[in-house]
Symmetry: C2
Subunit: 191 residues, 2 copies
């Protein structure tokens, strides 16, 4: 998505070889008009899928998932909750996620009543790097026994291995911008 690549180059800030901040339009301040473009792009990509639920994880995924829902007949959006500890609650699906950025473990949970085995789930997230959050959501869907029709992420750090590994497992992972290399001076995208 050319306009996204341009926006990342213009407004993104590379803090180090691993951390790209796009707080100005997605992760802290939200550019609503631009998120509409992202929603349209996910529709174009996944238009042939019969999506019944959109799953994301709090907090940055919510605006994207919300906008995308409008293009899929307003299917319910579910945002997985992040909790510091495994709450042992039998009414939820839950799994451990390791955050490389924060160097700690957290858990994501989804109430069982909102994901059913009949569901066709589109997973949406902001970033894909090591794949830990995405793998967590895939695990939650596996526990629910539902069908994952695809995974749409806004930015993939393609120099990290998450995307490759998840695709090799057979999942349809599409990123709107795929970063090949990045440094404080330059961001290069995969063609």
């Amino acid at each position: 998505m050319k306009s996204l690549e341009e926006k990342i180059v213009k407004e993104g800030r590379v803090l180090n070889d691993n951390v790209l901040k796009i707080d100005g339009f997605l992760n802290h301040q939200i550019d609503v008009k631009f998120i509409e473009e992202i929603g349209k792009e996910f529709k174009r990509i996944f238009k042939d899928e019969k999506v019944t639920k959109i799953l994301t994880v709090e907090a940055s995924g919510i605006s994207i998932a919300y906008e995308t829902s409008k293009h899929f007949d307003y299917v319910p959006v579910i945002f997985a909750k992040k909790t510091p500890a495994n709450n042992q609650d039998v009414s939820v699906y839950t799994t451990e996620v390791y955050s490389y950025t924060r160097e700690k473990i957290y858990f994501i949970t989804v109430a069982k009543e909102y994901l059913k085995k009949e569901d066709n789930v589109l997973i949406i997230d902001d970033f894909l790097a090591n794949g830990s959050a995405l793998n967590g959501m895939l695990e939650v869907c596996k526990q629910a026994g539902c069908n994952v029709v695809g995974c749409g992420v806004v930015v993939e750090k393609a120099f990290q291995s998450g995307g490759k590994e998840i695709r090799e497992k057979g999942h349809n992972v599409v990123a709107l911008a795929r970063i090949k290399t990045m440094s404080k001076d330059k961001i290069e995208f995969v063609d």
Copy 2:
């Protein structure tokens, strides 16, 4: 907002005298079509205000703030971040918030670059009870020196004191549904 009151009665779950769960359409699963109605209602209420930014707090406020922005010329939405500790970062406005539900203190932060003293801010949140989150956002706006044009909340537990106290300080706080009393059997709204 009649349709909201009806939805709360139909889909809400009162866990005890203080806790109302509306996870089915706002706090975990999002009913996007219904959030559109909420956005329209906030527009109707605050239409005369010259809003330049919408401020909310992660995570449940995001979808409402995002939708509301569309009615105010797509002004930027900022979601305050919740952090367990005061991070001492001089580039952010920050304040302590006490969560009565979880019985613990957390901090909310907003990067200084996203709130300016020229801004006219509409604050949006899901719940208002003791007013701790709303007071936190008002404090952040005070630190930024910006003008708060109003506070729109989806549900106010009017039997708790937060709303009254914040209105007495002169803020324009509007709740779309105001609960007078609630129990497992019955929810009554303020007329």
